[in-house]
Subunit: 165 residues, 2 copies
């Protein structure tokens, strides 16, 4: 008995039978990695700013499509993560895009409360790296947001910080 | 003998000794995954459009910082990838950002030739997924770009297609 390439996949996802079907086809046939996850970049639909990068499993992707609110897979907590359920910073989906080989998702969202980052900033990408040769010196970062939008201690209370060292 | 947490890292990258230093600090201390890679989202610096998602290893990140041209790690070819070396679609770095826990990179670029996708489109994310319940039906995709910007066969000739099924 051979196992089918599509075994265990939600029926809403098409099979990945050819490069042409995946790249030029009109049906969603996502590719998840060995952990069953697909990377997601989330941008502010108005400003175009990148707010965060996260991961989805099949269930998170389907719930996002069905509900129009961003769901991710939390790797630090190992559970489905309805973004904003704790903080109130719900991400309303304006558009969902998939890339050529269907192994990455782009979410364009509107955020209630205009912040997305657990540290308190608007975007998780609140620091920049300068371009240039640094030799063997440590590479400095510059802050691109003047101030935090909310106080993470007040919002998350004693929830564990998701950052892993 | 204990192995140091920073062993084998380029000297330009700071150590990841505390959550506060990683999230609020002024030095680059990136976190690479078990394969030594960090995910990268690349946007058009003018339009804000997401062009592609890729991966970098430490060398690709350092070369991008030092040269101001995007370098990635090609997982399909397993080699350092100077984007545009084959196609001419060089990505000039306008800004590099890093996220809160320093495990993701955002590149804002200008593309010579205005296309980024090996299929021939401007963005790799040339298709959208509609929001809504689909029951058990296959989920359709809509094309968001009217036409290809270049002919991939003419540009890449017989180079292998990087899409994996």
């Amino acid at each position: 008995m051979t196992s089918l390439p599509n075994a265990g996949r939600p029926v809403q996802f098409g099979p990945r039978l050819s490069v042409e079907a995946v790249e030029e086809g009109g049906f969603l046939a996502p590719r998840f990695n060995a952990d069953g996850l697909i990377p997601v970049v989330t941008t502010d639909a108005s400003s175009g700013e990148v707010l965060m990068m996260g991961m989805m499993n099949a269930e998170a992707l389907l719930r996002t499509i069905e509900t129009g609110e961003a769901h991710y897979w939390s790797r630090s907590r190992q559970c489905l993560w309805h973004k904003g359920a704790t903080s109130g910073l719900i991400q309303k989906v304006v558009q969902i895009r998939v890339d050529d080989d269907q192994d990455a998702i782009w979410l364009r969202v509107q955020v209630e409360g205009s912040a997305s980052c657990h540290v308190g900033y608007r975007s998780c990408f609140y620091r920049s790296i300068p371009v240039g040769p640094f030799g063997d010196a440590p590479i400095p970062l510059s802050f691109e947001e003047a101030a935090k939008i909310f106080d993470p201690v007040a919002v998350y209370r004693d929830a564990p910080n998701p950052t892993q060292l």
